[in-house]
């Protein structure tokens, strides 16, 4: 419809309808125009499809020297991968734009088609290869063992195993698999900064990570040193969706040109990453080292690990809830009956711990306290083990909620009960213990059991301080096996197995205890 026709028909309509307000006619016109514009822009986009920027997914958070925020200009991403991308864009004659995406979800994002490809230190592994398409490698990585500068017990992984030391690494990496294969106890981290931190704090004895990470994060640190030559090897490559064979061919050809004319080498040298191992890039298609990292995830291999995670979840839930209900009682009593300063202290406690996120609390307890111990010379006492920090953090947090439940339950007992007890010569404490508390328990128990079920699920948050409980175990296993659904259902079943009986118990207690009153 041409604008002229539109105008004619609205005029016509206005005359015939008589009462029709002109505003309605105007907005109808506007709507039609919008549709026309939208359709036109969509068509334009379709035509421009070939030259539109390719969408590249990467995680720039803590990602040096791969892709990271330029410290001098945080708006701007830098890194050896950024340089490679720029070279590739020039080579294929199409702009490439970066999209921030969580590292641990990159492969999933590729599968889902959220972007055109992912490139961020992704190792080629058989499990991943089953899900996505990999380009030819652009970097040969190796693993570097890093220890504290004053370490004198061992010099290599073998010595490390003999002294049964603990090695920190990133989960689901070649280093992780290497440690597992050699039977060396490993502690899994999410990020690359935390393992080296914990190494300095003495929480782990060594850190095994990809060489670029070690070069960037550990080598400049005078408290740490490399020990032994780099070991093992693997490939970083670009990941595409399975059906993007054409795009893969284009990128592979471009990479091939960058490798052959030395531009890739120049980039890697700029970043201090070129070494003899990179000579292999010229010939590699990425298939040759698959056997090295093979690790297939069958039920009998992941089920025991999940059960271990579940056991840890149970342990943390019980310990932290036990702690919570023990410290909550004096807080509730202080708030109800304490002298003014104590009462204010209790209110402060409740408001403080209810008001801050548990995640923050866990970080402060685990990393913050450890900092304090190095500064103030308090020794190792403040260097909490992850499980200690987890139990303490959840316990302190839940104590705030449980204190309020205690308080409500105790206040709900009629004041006359106190007087009746006093008139029988009972002391305040005796009256509380024998008369008030047993009655309060009836009101306290059902919401408390409810909180316990909630705590059970909240334990998943402690994975942030390197405790591998059930949820974390699920993340690790599903990521390395790519069996998100299968292992996910099993994990859910385990949670239900733990929380449903608790829910039933809660309802049962409610029935039993609810009966006694009046």
């Amino acid at each position: 419809m041409t604008p002229r026709a539109l105008m004619r028909s609205t005029r016509f309509g206005a005359r015939r309808g008589g009462a029709r307000p002109p505003a309605v006619a105007g907005s109808a016109l506007l709507l039609v125009l919008l549709f026309v514009l939208l359709a036109a822009s969509l068509a334009a986009e379709c035509r421009a499809g070939e030259t539109a920027p390719l969408r590249w997914a990467t995680d720039a958070e803590g990602g040096a020297p791969y892709t990271f925020k330029d410290p001098k200009n945080p708006e701007h991403d830098i890194g050896f991968e950024v340089d490679i991308i720029n070279a590739l864009a020039k080579e294929i004659g199409r702009p490439i734009e970066a999209h921030q995406y969580g590292f641990s979800s990159l492969i999933l994002g590729v599968e889902r088609g959220d972007f055109d490809f992912a490139m961020n230190g992704l190792e080629i592994t058989p499990d991943r290869k089953a899900k996505v398409l990999f380009s030819r490698p652009y970097y040969v990585f190796r693993e570097q063992l890093v220890v504290r500068a004053d370490e004198n017990r061992f010099e290599d992984l073998e010595g490390c195993r003999r002294t049964s030391c603990l090695v920190g690494t990133l989960e689901d990496t070649a280093a992780d698999r290497l440690l597992h294969a050699q039977g060396i106890p490993a502690k899994m981290y999410d990020g690359v900064v935390e393992p080296y931190r914990d190494l300095m704090l003495g929480r782990v004895d060594a850190v095994l990570l990809d060489l670029p990470i070690a070069i960037y994060y550990a080598r400049p640190n005078p408290e740490l040193r490399f020990t032994g030559p780099p070991i093992a090897r693997g490939y970083y490559a670009i990941a595409f969706r399975k059906d993007e064979t054409a795009l893969k061919a284009t990128i592979d050809a471009a990479l091939d040109r960058l490798i052959r004319d030395g531009r890739l080498r120049a980039i890697l040298e700029t970043w201090g990453l070129w070494d003899d191992a990179q000579e292999a890039l010229a010939a590699s298609t990425g298939d040759d080292i698959l056997t090295e990292s093979r690790r297939s995830w069958t039920f009998d291999r992941y089920a025991p690990l999940l059960l271990q995670g579940a056991a840890l979840t149970v342990l943390i839930a019980f310990l932290s809830f036990g702690l919570a209900i023990v410290i909550a009682l004096p807080i509730a009593l202080a708030r109800l009956y304490g002298p003014r300063p104590l009462r204010w202290g209790a209110i402060l406690y409740v408001e403080f711990f209810r008001g801050i996120p548990v995640l923050l609390l866990l970080y402060v307890l685990y990393y913050g306290l450890a900092d304090l111990s190095t500064v103030s010379g308090l020794g190792a006492s403040l260097r909490l083990q992850p499980i200690q920090a987890a139990v303490l953090g959840l316990g302190l947090n839940y104590a705030a909620y449980e204190a309020e439940i205690y308080r409500a339950g105790i206040s709900a007992v009629p004041h006359g009960q106190w007087e009746a007890a006093a008139c029988l010569g009972m002391s305040g404490w005796l009256a509380f213990r024998r008369i008030i508390l047993p009655q309060a328990v009836r009101t306290i128990l059902p919401p408390m059991t409810g909180d316990f079920v909630a705590l059970f699920k909240d334990t998943s948050i402690v994975s942030t301080i390197a405790v591998v409980e059930l949820s974390k175990q699920y993340q690790i296993l599903s990521k390395s096996s790519m069996k998100y659904l299968e292992i996910g259902l099993l994990t859910a079943a385990l949670y239900l197995l733990m929380s449903v009986p608790l829910g039933l118990l809660s309802r049962r207690l409610e029935r039993i205890w609810g009966r006694g009153i009046l």
């Binding site: 009960q417 007087e419 010569g425 024998r434």
Partner: protein
């Protein structure tokens, strides 16, 4: 007054002098003087809000007061209950002066007999067997020998109040404060409670009974005290106070409740 039996040693002497208390700007007790001889039964009557309950609660230290003095046997109490010495004195007074409430205040999580033995066990440190035997005798005495294992919610109001009396007696008190203990009961249940009270009087225990039961006062009290607007306006034998009241206010009050 008969000789003391198993529950009561000799009754205790009570006295208050110049007792004053105000609350929220309202005067509740305005200089009350009262002396009760050991073993005496005193009925305290008067219009609502006259200060009857407050007087009882000051006697055993449940409520603080602003001025005056309370003496129970050898223990003397002044204003300022929150402070250490008076708090300890109040507890000593409660050991010899029991109290029964209008709304019973049985411990709902304990059976009748557990209600009765709790304080002897935990406060007096009696052996469990002995405490149970005494409790069984006391429940029998209040006519509830067969209800010892019932929970409070399974008992009628009159039965609850009788358990409360047995519970108070289990501490072998030398005096008992009864705060409108039949007011929450249906008329047909009042009799059973008042009958128990009359047997206590014969035991020689000192009784202070705040009540609206004029019949009970006439029949069972040695003395009737009329408390109105925080002062005692009449004090004497039941025959005098109830039949020949001296003040117009007492006459008015009596005519109202006897209607």
């Amino acid at each position: 007054m008969s000789a003391a039996n198993e529950t009561a040693t000799a009754g205790v002497a009570l006295s208050v002098t110049g007792l004053r208390k105000s609350f929220g700007g309202r005067t509740i007790l305005d200089g009350v003087d009262l002396a009760v001889a050991p073993g005496q039964t005193v009925a305290v009557i008067g219009p609502s809000g006259g200060g009857k309950s407050t007087l009882l609660r000051c006697l055993n230290g449940l409520t603080d007061f602003d001025g005056g003095r309370v003496v129970v046997g050898p223990h003397a109490l002044g204003p300022g209950l929150g402070k250490g010495p008076h708090r300890a004195t109040a507890r000593q007074i409660r050991r010899i002066l029991g109290m029964i409430f209008q709304d019973f205040q049985l411990f709902p999580h304990l059976t009748a007999i557990e209600n009765v033995i709790e304080a002897p066990l935990r406060v007096l440190g009696r052996p469990r067997d002995e405490a149970r035997a005494t409790a069984a005798r006391l429940l029998d005495r209040v006519g509830l020998a067969d209800r010892g294992d019932a929970l409070p919610r399974q008992l009628s109001g009159g039965q609850k109040q009788r358990v409360a009396i047995a519970r108070a007696l289990a501490m072998s008190p030398r005096g008992l404060l009864c705060d409108e203990i039949t007011s929450a009961l249906d008329p047909e249940l009042k009799g059973e409670v008042l009958a128990v009270l009359e047997t206590l009087r014969r035991d020689g225990i000192t009784l202070m009974v705040v009540t609206h039961e004029i019949g009970f006062a006439r029949r069972a009290a040695d003395r009737v005290v009329v408390l109105d607007r925080g002062t005692i306006i009449e004090d004497g034998p039941p025959a005098d106070v109830l039949e020949r009241p001296k003040t117009a206010r007492t006459r008015q009050f009596l005519s109202q409740i006897l209607l």
